[in-house]
């Protein structure tokens, strides 16, 4: 069973743990269970799981605190489980380094899909290393600084290009507005999100993408942007 995917679930509700066990087990994943934050941190260190599922409402520790601790030493994908309406918590978790979030209640299929995205993301090269993105007719070759849509070159301004590559490096993952601003504009980041909206809008136009029915850039209202898949 060493090559099966190992998931650490940090969750205080026994019923949800049971459901996670059943769902993940049915998809050939091994589940490590922690009832408390402390136990979870211990297991994360000793067992090095492939993905961590973290409930934000733990009795002993603040979920944000756990993310901060984990991110001090590991890049293991963290998927946060939270209740609906807690947009601020989601943003905070994402900005602290969580990879994705799931809103309770969620369906089994959705959970599996998110775990797969997280695993794929984890296997991709980190940092500024060159990458290639290819999805639904859009190809990005970062080494050649080239963007093609349906076989034709797309001409982007430097900011649009940076915006697209940041999204592509993290494709499938939601990037909060704040983190986008920081990564695209670096330390000159404007504090006004209107700029981000305008550039995203221009980028969408050049990619022939429609916000009403997005093909590439998806808006997560209140959270941020995500590039498909």
């Amino acid at each position: 069973m060493t090559d099966s995917i190992r998931i650490l679930s940090i969750e205080d509700e026994a019923d949800i743990r049971k459901f996670l066990r059943a769902t993940l087990g049915a998809n050939d994943m091994t589940v490590l269970e922690a009832e408390t934050g402390r136990e979870g941190l211990r297991l994360a260190t000793s067992q090095t799981p492939d993905v961590i599922l973290l409930d934000l409402g733990l009795p002993d520790m603040d979920g944000m605190e756990i993310i901060r601790h984990l991110r001090e030493w590991t890049t293991t994908p963290i998927i946060v489980l939270s209740a609906r309406g807690q947009e601020r918590d989601k943003i905070e978790a994402l900005e602290l380094g969580a990879d994705d979030y799931l809103t309770k209640p969620f369906a089994a299929g959705e959970l599996i899909a998110r775990i797969k995205v997280a695993l794929r993301h984890a296997s991709r090269p980190k940092g500024d290393a060159p990458f290639v993105y290819d999805y639904d007719g859009l190809t990005i070759d970062s080494a050649a600084r080239r963007v093609r849509l349906d076989g034709e070159d797309v001409r982007l301004t430097p900011i649009e290009y940076r915006l697209l590559t940041v999204l592509a490096r993290n494709s499938g993952k939601v990037l909060t507005y704040a983190s986008l601003l920081k990564q695209v504009w670096d330390r000159h980041s404007p504090d006004n999100q209107t700029y981000l909206r305008i550039h995203t809008q221009h980028l969408r136009e050049k990619l022939k993408d429609d916000a009403l029915n997005p093909r590439f850039i998806v808006t997560e209202p209140g959270i941020g942007y995500r590039l498909n898949p």
Binding site: D15, T23, A83, G85, A211
Partner: protein, 898 residues
């Protein structure tokens, strides 16, 4: 224009529309049709104008019209709705009276109330009709009325002197002057006389024809006409002054401030009218001052009542009433006058009797001698017959005592005699005079001045008869006794009168002491108790016994006036209507006041800091008792004390309530967050398990799969319901905080569309974006929720292959979004109701909303929190409904920077 003379816009505005400002209902406008005498055609003019108003579309009602059977008048009344008169049964006589409550209930725009000065039938709410009119005006109803000059308070005595006819029905000048409009109805005197001769003028039935003849003499009519014209002119003057004051000119050019000294002397009435005319001519403020000196204590009830009556008269004529107390009248009044900037003091004066001249300086004289700078106007009173008797009564007042007291004085002398008899033979008779002196002192202390004088005078012959030899005769041998008798008489008179005065002072002091004690006791007791009911109990127990009154309190409560104790609620409708009147008008009413004087209780408003907290009722246990002015003043003090305590109680109640409210709020939030957690956990588990089972399509029998699919559908519904419930709770508790960010509305629509993919079935979703839409500043997550809810609502009411259009366009500074479906549409009247909480297909006439009944309420909450509006209507082509909402556009887009 210098800043000082610039018109004060507020003052001008106040002149134009006498309104109390926002929230205060408009006071009605009063128009007086004013004439010199009966027969000039006031009622006729009033009706003519009322008809014109009626044609203007104003709701005119005739309250009282005295047509006196004149045909022209009756013809004019046709077409004006009539308010039925109230029938009052007064000691078996049926009287008809203006129905004030009927008028207030009917609330016309304008009401006609003839004969302003009319005196109401006994038992009416107000003694005078002008008071009824005041109440109508206070309630925002315009009034037309008629008035003859002779019925004006200040013209009253002039008219009486002129015509010899005394009119008891008068209207205070202040009321007349406060009228918004005065229309002078004038015909030449000759014409009036002709009308009189033709029998066109109504002369009161039963009136003395001779008196009427006297009244309608040409000379009188000329004089009355002149008076009416002059009064109208004066008013126009006053109005232009008001206007020029508002325009920034000097208010009172003459700068006079007049003080009128009032006493129990009937001369005061004339003084008051005189002062009023003087003040009006100089447009000066005037004050009626009554000095409550030692002499006040010596006045009888009748005089005191008269003082109160004069003060009220002065107040009615526009004076401000001041009561001063002091031991040295002239000095105290001058000090007060100097401190308050009075320029003129008016005082009445009667000739001092010749035999008193060496002993006393007239009060006016004292004022004049010390006035320096202040003008003293002395009005000489001729000795009217009634005032002479009054003076006599006033000076013998100290001698008035009960007959029994004189009997007791006699008994005291007899007792002194009996006590002396055993010592007659072995004691020098001079010493025995001491016995009589003792008796006189005791009588003086106990029974007052009169009986002590009687005792003094009786003592001398008694001593002579019993103790001066020869005994039992009024003769005496020793001429030395002459001296004894004279000294005995003088000594006992002096000692007696001194003692009597001393004990009277002592009594006054103890009376004041008692008052202070009650006040102190009440204050202390009130500060010690909490709660409205306890405060009322304390007030009742502290005031009932000392004043021999039945005290009842009516406390303002949410459900209306609540009487404390419960049993105190009067069965008599008259008492209760007095209570209500006092509460509504915050003025005292009832016994010994001007309003509802026939009520058996006196009712005072409990008012603190402009807040009416209730009414205090005082009903004397002895039915014939009258409240004096000073007693009423004391009661007012008590009422304000009780009101203060009630207000404190109310404040602390409110604080308590808000504490409970915030505690409830906290509890609710705790409940909500635990609810949200506790509901979501099992839902997540169920959701997960069912979704897992649904994947085992191959292993499970087909029937189980069908059941699972149904269960899945219900689970999704339940999840939505819980989500909506929590959203609604957040909105209604005001706990929803908006995270405003700029968005293109298309992004939000796109996100919402992807959310409803699984539930839209075969429905066609089309979007129409008109032109280039600007960004909106919104909370993206919440607005997405609005779209999702509206779309799901549309799904519920369209066929599974229906068509739904989402359209967005710019409308000035807003974005207008419309979601239309081609379903059944809304039933009439549901357009607004569907946005209320928990309105579902069951409670609504149309099959709209459906589901939990929260979705649309949430939409409204979110849209309103964004400063937008939301509404629903049926499509113009009668196919389906449209839900429309607006969102504010980001005001100005910052310039793009590289």
């Amino acid at each position: 224009m210098s800043p000082d003379t610039r018109p004060d816009p507020d003052k001008l505005l106040a002149l134009v529309n006498h309104d109390g400002g926002e929230g205060v209902p408009r006071r009605g406008r009063l128009k007086v049709f004013f004439g010199a005498s009966a027969g000039v055609g006031k009622t006729y003019a009033m009706l003519n104008e009322a008809r014109a108003r009626l044609r203007d579309g104003i709701d005119v009602v005739s309250g009282v019209i005295e047509h006196h059977g004149r045909r022209e008048t009756q013809a004019l009344m046709e077409g004006i709705p009539v308010l039925p008169m109230l029938e009052i049964d007064h000691r078996g006589i049926r009287l008809t009276e203006f129905d004030l409550d009927g008028a207030l209930a009917r609330r016309p725009g304008l009401i006609l109330v003839d004969e302003f000065a009319h005196t109401n039938a006994p038992g009416s709410r107000h003694p005078k009709r002008w008071q009824d009119v005041e109440e109508l005006l206070d309630n925002g109803i315009d009034v037309y009325t008629t008035l003859n000059v002779q019925h004006l308070e200040s013209a009253n005595d002039q008219v009486a002197r002129l015509t010899g006819v005394w009119v008891s029905e008068t209207v205070p000048d202040t009321i007349f002057e406060a009228a918004d409009d005065i229309a002078l109805v004038d015909i030449p005197s000759d014409e009036l006389l002709k009308r009189l001769a033709d029998g066109k003028v109504y002369v009161a039935e039963g009136a003395n024809t001779r008196a009427a003849e006297n009244f309608f003499k040409k000379s009188n009519l000329l004089a009355l006409r002149e008076m009416a014209l002059r009064r109208t002119a004066e008013r126009v003057d006053a109005q232009s002054d008001e206007l020029s004051a508002a325009m920034g000119q000097n208010e009172a050019q003459l700068g006079h401030k007049i003080m009128l000294l009032i006493g129990p002397d009937p001369l005061s009435t004339r003084l008051i009218r005189h002062a009023k005319r003087m003040a009006a001519r100089g447009r000066a403020p005037w004050f009626a001052v009554y000095l409550q000196s030692d002499r006040h204590e010596m006045l009888n009830e009748k005089s005191r009542a008269r003082v109160e009556q004069y003060l009220r008269l002065a107040e009615n004529l526009g004076a401000q009433v001041v009561r001063l107390s002091g031991a040295q009248p002239a000095r105290d009044i001058l000090t007060y006058a100097r401190q308050n900037g009075f320029t003129r003091i008016m005082v009445g004066h009667r000739r001092t009797k010749w035999w008193l001249k060496p002993f006393r300086t007239a009060f006016a004289q004292q004022l004049i001698e010390n006035s320096d700078g202040i003008e003293i106007a002395v009005i000489n009173g001729d000795a009217a017959p009634d005032s002479v008797t009054e003076n006599v009564v006033s000076s013998i007042r100290p001698f008035i005592a009960r007959p029994i007291d004189y009997g007791l004085a006699f008994a005291a002398v007899a007792l002194a005699t009996l006590a002396g008899l055993p010592f007659r033979d072995n004691t020098p008779s001079d010493n025995l005079t001491m016995l009589y002196l003792t008796a006189v002192v005791i009588v003086a202390a106990r029974l007052g001045l009169g009986p002590s004088v009687v005792a003094s005078i009786l003592s001398v012959p008694a001593f002579n008869f019993f103790f001066a030899e020869p005994y039992y005769t009024f003769n005496f041998y020793d001429s030395y006794y002459y001296i004894t008798f004279v000294f005995m008489l003088v000594t006992s008179l002096v000692v007696g009168s001194l003692t009597a005065r001393l004990s009277r002072h002592a009594r006054q002091v103890s009376e004041r002491e008692r008052e202070t004690q009650i006040l102190y006791g009440l204050t202390r007791a009130l500060s010690a108790v909490r709660g409205v009911d306890r405060i009322c109990e304390v007030a009742i127990s502290h005031l009932s016994a000392p004043y021999n009154l039945a005290v009842s309190l009516f406390v303002d409560a949410p459900e209306g006036l609540r009487s404390v104790p419960k049993s105190a609620e009067p069965e008599d409708m008259k008492e209760m209507s007095a209570v209500r009147w006092v509460a509504a008008n915050t003025q005292m009413a009832g016994r010994d006041t001007d309003t509802l004087p026939s009520a058996s209780g006196l009712y005072l408003p409990l008012q603190a800091e402009n807040e009416t907290l209730g009414v205090m009722g005082l009903t004397p246990n002895a039915s014939g008792r009258r409240f004096t002015g000073s007693e009423i003043l004391q009661f007012e003090t008590f009422a304000s004390l009780v009101a203060g305590a009630l207000q404190r109680a109310r404040r602390s109640d409110e604080a308590e309530r808000s504490k409970i409210d915030s505690e409830n709020e906290r509890l609710r939030n705790v409940l909500l967050s635990s609810l949200s957690h506790d509901l979501r956990t099992p839902l997540t588990v169920m959701n997960g398990s069912v979704s897992l089972l649904l994947k085992m399509r191959k292993e499970l029998p087909r029937k189980a799969m069908d059941e699972l699919t149904a269960l899945w559908g219900q689970l999704i519904r339940l999840q939505k319901f819980v989500g909506n419930l929590l959203n609604m709770a957040a909105i209604t508790s005001g706990k929803m905080t908006l995270n405003f960010q700029p968005y293109m509305i298309q992004e939000i629509i796109g996100a919402a569309l992807s959310q409803v993919q699984s539930t839209k079935e075969n429905r066609q979703l089309r979007t129409q974006i008109v032109g280039n839409l600007p960004m909106v500043q919104i909370d993206g997550g919440l607005v997405e929720q609005v779209f999702v809810n509206l779309l799901e609502n549309a799904f519920q009411h369209t066929a599974s292959d229906g068509e739904i259009v989402i359209a967005a366009e710019r409308d000035a500074d807003r974005l207008r979004i419309r979601i239309s479906d081609n379903g059944a549409g809304l039933k009439a009247g549901d357009e607004a109701r569907i946005f209320e909480q928990f309105q579902t297909a069951q409670t609504l006439s149309s099959d709209r909303a459906g589901g939990t009944g929260l979705g649309l309420a949430i939409c409204r909450g979110i849209v309103q929190a964004h400063g937008g509006m939301i509404y629903a209507r049926n499509n113009s082509d009668k196919t389906g409904a449209s839900f429309i909402f607006t969102l504010p556009i980001v005001p100005d887009l910052p310039k793009e920077t590289p």
